[in-house]
């Protein structure tokens, strides 16, 4: 709009804004995911690259179509659909069929996000909704594992957690840490995920309380059970680095949209996730429980937010002095 | 604001007495579509509500109560007796074994359990009577 000299702009205070933006946040997340994603392509072959492409394309297209149908103006360039697309693939098994990924990405965006009103309104983590939907839709494909290129184990294709649960095999720590084990596409390399998320932690894009309380709970509970029965229950380090806990705690539980906004709430949320992960892993029917733990706690976020509303300045204190 | 039990319930003033009024309310709007409640005796209830400002007979009013009270009442009224039930069961079982009752199965403890469920309303009733004077449990007329 071209202004004449005296056409002043009116707006309410404040008149300056920080240079953070949703787009910047989402792009940072995408970029920090790149190392782990690249490593996964190396580990599991070019087929995974195809999956990434398919997933991202489906996410973007569905987002665009729904937004257009609903005659809303937000566009794709906020980059959140991209995050969903990448993360969805990262938690799927390496040889998941591509048509399944299309379905999953579509479900992530449409059922996981848009029906709640789109960006920012969703209750559940969209990528995990896609993953859970696929797990229930194609339960066979979701439990087919292959060995990575840099494999440490020679024999079975079972994930460290399944190996632990069903056969009592404990995978060495270093393999877990560097990701030379079988597992979902992007979850295996703990080190790359940690490195990537450090930047997000620094920028406070991740509420540090969430991963911190998940880790603490898992370590404490893991240790307790390990002490009770070391033969049956693996130690805390195994829990920390095996399966999807790293990617789950750092990227999925900490998704800002679906986690609590209060500090106390974040701690409660994180501890509960840690507790559920341990319960499902140790006593449940499934080998891995991070996804279900996060989804379950997502549902509680509105209640948590309400219960931990901070004390408003100047209320509820003794005003004697 | 929120519909919380009686909080937000709308009713009609029947008579007014002193600083309170008797108000008749109709069934909760939560389930308009199924007419189930109508079959049970009461789709209406009558409460005595305190007035913050004068109302007239026949006036439509909205009732309210201190937030939190509803949930508390529900817990006392509905959860406490369940403890009575379970307690009664184990008491009955214990007593049965003491008395060497040769009753088959769990009939005796079950009966004790049910009796103790109803007995647990004695303390609840006492509590209720005490709370009658508690302002937190006072239903009052919010607006007309």
């Amino acid at each position: 709009m071209a202004n004449e000299q005296n056409s002043l702009i009116l707006s309410t205070s404040p008149h300056i804004k920080s240079d953070e933006s949703v787009r910047k946040i989402m792009l940072s997340v995408n970029i920090t995911l790149v190392p782990a994603a690249a490593f996964s392509v190396y580990q599991f072959g070019l087929y995974t690259l195809l999956l990434y492409a398919v997933s991202i394309a489906t996410c973007l297209v569905s987002e665009y179509v729904v937004v257009r149908l609903r005659k809303r103006t937000f566009t794709l360039n906020d980059g959140s659909a991209l995050v969903t697309g990448i993360l969805l693939v990262m938690v799927l098994p390496p040889r998941f069929p591509a048509y399944g990924v299309v379905l999953g990405a579509f479900v992530s965006i449409v059922i996981g996000k848009q029906i709640f009103g789109g960006l920012g309104n969703n209750i559940f983590n969209p990528a995990l909704i896609g993953r859970a939907f696929l797990a229930a839709t194609y339960p066979v494909h979701i439990s087919q594992w292959i060995l990575p290129r840099m494999s440490a184990a020679a024999v079975s294709g079972a994930t460290p957690l399944a190996g632990m649960k069903f056969d009592g095999i404990v995978t060495p720590f270093s393999d877990l840490f560097f990701g030379t084990v079988s597992g979902s596409i992007g979850e295996t390399s703990a080190i790359l995920l940690i490195l990537g998320s450090l930047y997000l932690l620094m920028k406070k894009y991740i509420k540090w309380r969430i991963p911190a309380s998940i880790f603490v709970t898992v370590i404490v509970l893991g240790e307790i059970f390990h002490l009770i029965n070391p033969a049956k229950f693996p130690g805390p380090v195994f829990h920390l680095f095996a399966g999807g806990l790293m990617i789950g705690a750092l990227y999925m539980a900490a998704d800002m949209v679906t986690s609590p906004i209060t500090k106390k709430g974040c701690v409660i949320y994180g501890c509960a996730i840690g507790l559920l992960v341990i319960i499902i892993r140790l006593f449940g029917g499934l080998a891995e429980g991070v996804m279900y733990a996060i989804l379950f706690m997502n549902a509680f976020v509105p209640l948590i937010n309400r219960a931990t509303k901070p004390r408003i300045f100047g209320t509820g204190v003794n005003h004697e002095y | 604001m929120f519909i919380k039990g009686i909080n937000g319930e709308e009713g009609e003033v029947i008579p007014v007495h002193g600083n309170s009024a008797t108000v008749k309310i109709k069934a909760n709007k939560a389930c308009k579509k199924c007419n189930l409640c109508e079959q049970v005796s009461s789709t209406e209830m009558v409460v005595v509500a305190f007035m913050k400002k004068p109302v007239k007979k026949g006036e439509k009013v909205t009732l309210s109560i201190q937030p939190g009270t509803v949930v508390k009442s529900a817990a006392i009224l509905y959860i406490l007796p369940l403890f009575g039930l379970i307690l009664g069961y184990y008491l009955g079982k214990f007593a049965g074994s003491l008395l060497h009752l040769r009753l088959k199965g769990e009939l005796f403890p079950a009966a004790v359990a049910i009796v103790s469920l109803f007995l647990s309303f004695i303390p609840i009733r006492a509590y209720d009577r005490r709370k009658q004077k508690d302002s937190r449990f006072r239903v009052y007329i919010k607006e007309s």
């Binding site: 069929p97 939907f133 229930a136 839709t137 | 579509k33 109508e38 079959q39 005796s41």
Partner: protein, 214 residues
């Protein structure tokens, strides 16, 4: 609503409109949100939906007629008890019938046949309509509503069966190339499908209303 309000439409027309409205305008599942439990639980296939629906047709017509016959002699205080007894009697009859002649279906529907007893549609209708109207009207109303219910169940069951098992009433409809969606047979699939069906119904209603405007 206009038809129920204006007085002198002849009975034939009126009963027809009473019958029809159960399908769309007062569809028990999609509009009144009643009888959701069996709707969700038994619709893993179209045939289950159909059987359940027909069972409801039987119970509902039977009990509606009886209820409207006896409506004037039952005192209010024992109304619900009397009505549920009547309904439960019919339900037990259906149940015994299924067990005697259609054991497989009876197993598939599991405990949801007895649950017709408390199924909110039947009770709701029994009270709201049958207890206030003549025998004939109650009968028509019960038929309309229960057929509306049946159609909805078959529809929902059909979708779930097609996507979940590639078949419709047992006949193969989607080719081998389609990998069945197991989720459709599980609770989440039921909830989500019904949710979208409700949404679609609302959308169509809205579109129709808009069209009427112009």
């Amino acid at each position: 609503m206009a038809d129920t309000k204006s007085g002198d439409i002849n009975t034939g027309n009126k009963s027809f409109s009473e019958f029809i409205k159960g399908f769309w305008k007062e569809n028990p599942v999609l509009v009144m949100l009643l009888g959701m439990c069996p709707t969700l639980a038994v619709t893993t296939s179209a045939i289950n939906g159909l059987t359940m629906g027909l069972a409801v047709v039987f119970v509902m017509t039977g009990s509606s007629v009886i209820v409207s016959l006896v409506r004037n002699i039952v005192p209010k205080q024992v109304r619900i008890a009397t009505f549920v007894v009547i309904i439960a009697t019919f339900v037990t009859m259906v149940d015994l019938f299924l067990k005697a002649f259609l054991l497989d279906l009876s197993k598939a529907l599991g405990p949801f046949i007895p649950l017709i007893v408390v199924n909110c549609i039947i009770l709701g209708r029994a009270e709201a309509f049958a207890s206030r109207n003549s025998v004939w009207l109650s009968l028509v109303d019960a038929l309309g509503v229960s057929f509306g219910f049946t159609v909805t169940l078959v529809f929902l069951g059909g979708i779930r069966e097609i996507l979940g098992m590639r078949t419709f009433f047992g006949m193969s409809v989607l080719g081998e190339g389609f990998e069945p969606w197991v989720i459709m047979l599980l609770p989440p699939g039921a909830f989500i499908t019904l949710g979208f069906m409700l949404g679609a119904k609302n959308l169509i209603d809205r579109k129709m209303k808009e069209r009427k405007k112009y």
